[in-house]
């Protein structure tokens, strides 16, 4: 714990770690917050803006909106949601799902997003990563990787909500994504997503070991132990949580408190 005094950090510099970020992930279908199971079956949970507002008030470090339908047809609904949310949520907002071009990115940033997460379009046209990074800065270009295990220690990046193969090795794709200009990796385990059986720690570690940009672990959080494993063993810089928050299994204040009690640094509110 740092105090506000002058000589605050001496003696702990070598063990000082950056604060872990606790991200509330909200998957959106049309006007609804949904919870998917392994990116397939979905359940409606409620009004996304209401949930986002609550997570902000409870101390979420960031909000992540992911459009599960990702069709152009729904685009206006999503931009409107982002615009309304940004008027009352004063932490970073990331938006992903179906963004296909730098112009799509601009629309979301103008609506109030701070960062965009791009998956499918980047796998089809990797230059898009560079284009977005050059036009808007690497800081807002989050490469979203939906990874599915193909055999132990190997994962393939999937696109289009996990429905299509890309043939890309997820770890190699992450490394290339950084080189192309991505500022963060949003790493979702398709196998664990919605299962509450824990993050794919081996995947997080494998990607984290080849990139120098932050890795956000997503998919599978069910308990605090899962979070600690993703960070402690996997080396994740941030965790995205959905199910445990939406269904009230764990609250953000409890997570923050318990995380700190276990020696992992999180921001003080």
């Amino acid at each position: 714990m740092a105090s506000g005094g002058g000589d605050t950090r001496s003696g702990r510099a070598t063990e000082a770690l950056a604060n872990l970020r606790l991200i509330a992930r909200l998957d959106i279908k049309g006007p609804n917050l949904i919870k998917s199971v392994q990116l397939e079956g979905v359940r409606k949970v409620g009004d996304p803006q209401t949930f986002a507002r609550r997570y902000y008030a409870e101390g979420a470090d960031e909000i992540l909106y992911m459009d599960a339908v990702a069709s152009l047809y729904n685009r206006d609904t999503l931009t409107d949601l982002v615009r309304r949310t940004a008027e009352e949520v004063f932490v970073p907002i990331t938006v992903g799902g179906g963004l296909r071009s730098a112009d799509d990115v601009q629309v979301m940033l103008r609506a109030g997003a701070d960062k965009v997460a791009i998956n499918s379009a980047a796998t089809l046209s990797p230059d898009l990563i560079t284009e977005v990074a050059e036009r808007f800065g690497s800081q807002c270009m989050v490469l979203q990787i939906d990874a599915k295990a193909t055999r132990p220690g190997q994962w393939e990046a999937l696109r289009d909500g996990g429905r299509e193969h890309t043939g890309l090795d997820a770890v190699e794709w992450a490394r290339r994504g950084e080189a192309l200009g991505a500022g963060e990796i949003l790493l979702t385990s398709v196998d664990r997503e919605g299962t509450r059986r824990g993050f794919d720690v081996a995947l997080i570690r494998a990607v984290g070991s080849v990139v120098g940009i932050p890795v956000i672990a997503s998919g599978g959080m069910g308990t605090l132990e899962h979070l600690c494993a993703a960070v402690g063993d996997g080396g994740a810089d941030a965790v995205a949580m959905a199910h445990v928050l939406h269904y009230g299994t764990l609250g953000i204040p409890d997570i923050r408190h318990a995380t700190r009690a276990r020696g992992l640094p999180v921001r003080a509110l």
């Binding site: 604060n19 008027e87 004063f90 970073p92 932050p214 003080a268």
Partner: protein, 214 residues
């Protein structure tokens, strides 16, 4: 009485977020892109994200370099945010050598990829970090950081940081895994913060309210 604040619109990505947060704090906000609007401002905010060279180019194209310099010299309240703070300095090494506005002596340098302890740092520095009083600063009262607890955290998102020539302009520092980063500066009524108050939750809103009360 509603406080009015002028935000410089030079194509910065966080313009809307900054305006929204200031409005949420009760201010009457005008986003402007003309020299005359800056000359007549009572309170000025320069937002910023991305690269300093690009920001300077956009300020130059709009003819806003001299108006901001004039404003800064007038000792009216000014807040530069992130790259909007970095442009106040003399020069940056980002993508080659680039001159800044030069209203605060010092340079903008890339964060070291490896800390003094030899361990690798992730760049950009993304996330929440605790604001600590800079060396020699005993008290934040009367500044934009007035009333913050010693635990207050703000949201950072940057790969470059300012290094003021004069250590006394440093108002707050933060510690990024052992590297001391200049988090906020003050020179008279001229303020800069490396973090994003518009994205730093209630702490950030408190900082903006302090700025509106200067």
């Amino acid at each position: 009485m509603t406080v009015s604040v002028t935000v410089v619109d030079y194509g910065s990505g966080n313009l809307l977020s900054v305006c929204r947060a200031l409005r949420h704090c009760g201010a009457d906000v005008a986003a402007v892109e003309t020299a005359s609007a800056i000359d007549t401002a009572d309170r000025l905010v320069v937002p910023g994200v991305g690269a300093m060279a690009d920001s300077m180019r956009r300020l130059r194209e709009r003819g806003l370099i001299e108006p901001i310099r004039r404003y800064a010299a007038s000792n009216r309240p000014l807040l530069g945010i992130c790259v909007g703070m970095q442009v106040m300095f003399d020069a940056s090494e980002e993508f080659g050598e680039h001159a800044g506005l030069g209203v605060i002596p010092g340079r903008v340098r890339r964060l070291p990829k490896v800390g003094v302890d030899g361990r690798a740092r992730k760049i950009p520095h993304i996330g929440w970090n605790t604001l600590a009083r800079a060396r020699g600063v005993n008290d934040w009262s009367g500044t934009i950081l007035a009333g913050l607890s010693g635990q207050a955290s703000a949201y950072f998102l940057h790969s470059y940081a300012v290094e003021p020539d004069d250590e006394t302009v440093r108002l707050a520092d933060c510690d990024y895994e052992g590297t001391r980063i200049c988090a906020a500066v003050r020179r008279g009524q001229l303020y800069g913060c490396q973090f994003h108050p518009e994205k730093s939750g209630e702490v950030g809103l408190a900082i903006l309210r302090n700025f509106l009360a200067l």
